[in-house]
Symmetry: C2
DNA sequence: ACCTGAACACCGTTCAAGT
DNA sequence: ACCTGAACACCGTTCAAGT
């Protein structure tokens, strides 16, 4: 079954999510796009939220694969870190509804979702640790430094997506600028930004 | 009219928001809590989303006032910055639904909401600029440095609220730790974290 | 000016029934 | 095993009507 009803449902729901946000994802419209009735999804997912969790898990796995691909490209360790942060921001701005969905509130907890998130997080820690080994990032707990870097990219992207970065929007501070600023401050042994 | 139906509606909606997230805010329940019918809100707000925007604007104004109060407390400039970041994180963790609402997707644009966001942002820039003047933060465009600091607090708090900080949740990296780490890296003239 | 009750189109979910 | 159509309770919004 190459298409597969289950995948067709996830595809349809993802399309609706991208086009109109999570509130545009109705089971009736998902069914219509997938060519089934509006309650066929209940054969594959116990609830609408479980369908949304499947979208989120699939997306997080794709993000982890993207991190993996970047880390294998043969770039210098610091370039990998910078590239990964830029990709994160580009992803949020390209698919804000997927981003909001993943980090929004969940009433159910999907093991698939939790594991996908964990895998992506671990990949980033590896990348940061490699940059530390090359002395391109300051020493210390790589989990903690990865969390710092990721939190900045996450916050900058979210504020940019919500149009709350540097109120007035003069391009005074794009999320990419903030990434560069942070990496500048993190450069080991070099005081300040210079 | 001390209570005032309009304020009673915002109060009721805020209570529902805090208790069950934005999806728990239904006009029927808002009306019931406020002691009016389920369509009385339409006399004060053109839509449900406009009522939500009023909540968001009120909250942003309260945040600005909190920033203002902290900056007038007579603390050293660096202590003000640290205190303000901790307050931001505490606010997100205490009222995640208000936070998600403010930075979520808006189909309408409320002038009140935009102005409240701008006022809060400007207050933070003032605080950062004062710390720069006291050489407690590195020099440069205060708007940009304020954006960096805020983006980190925003991202760390959002990831913590969504339980995505340092997957595994061992307290390896609390949002407050990340704030301290960033301020350490930003200390002018001192290389690294030491 | 402020509020109500009935009505409309829509939604998630359940269920009996079909193949 | 997989899917459908009818039904239920709920929702945002509109509207005619009341004071």
């Amino acid at each position: 079954m190459p298409p597969g009803t289950r995948d067709a449902l996830i595809d349809a729901a993802t399309r609706l999510l991208d086009q109109g946000g999570v509130e545009a994802v109705t089971l009736r419209e998902v069914g219509r796009l997938a060519g089934v009735s509006h309650n066929a999804p209940y054969k594959y997912f116990p609830s609408k939220e479980a369908l949304l969790a499947a979208i989120a898990a699939r997306e997080l796995t794709a993000r982890r694969d993207a991190l993996d691909a970047t880390s294998r490209r043969g770039l210098a360790p610091e370039a990998v870190v910078r590239s990964v942060m830029r990709q994160y921001i580009a992803w949020v701005l390209a698919h804000p509804a997927r981003f909001k969905l993943i980090y929004g509130k969940w009433s159910i907890d999907s093991a698939e979702l939790g594991e996908a998130a964990h895998a992506a997080q671990e990949k980033l820690v590896e990348i940061v640790a490699a940059a530390q080994d090359a002395e391109a990032l300051p020493p210390g707990d790589p989990v903690r430094l990865a969390a710092l870097i990721r939190a900045l990219a996450h916050g900058a992207a979210d504020l940019a997506a919500a149009d709350h970065l540097a109120a007035g929007g003069k391009g005074h501070a794009d999320p990419e600028d903030l990434v560069d600023d942070l990496l500048g401050y993190l450069r080991p042994g070099v005081p300040g930004r210079a």
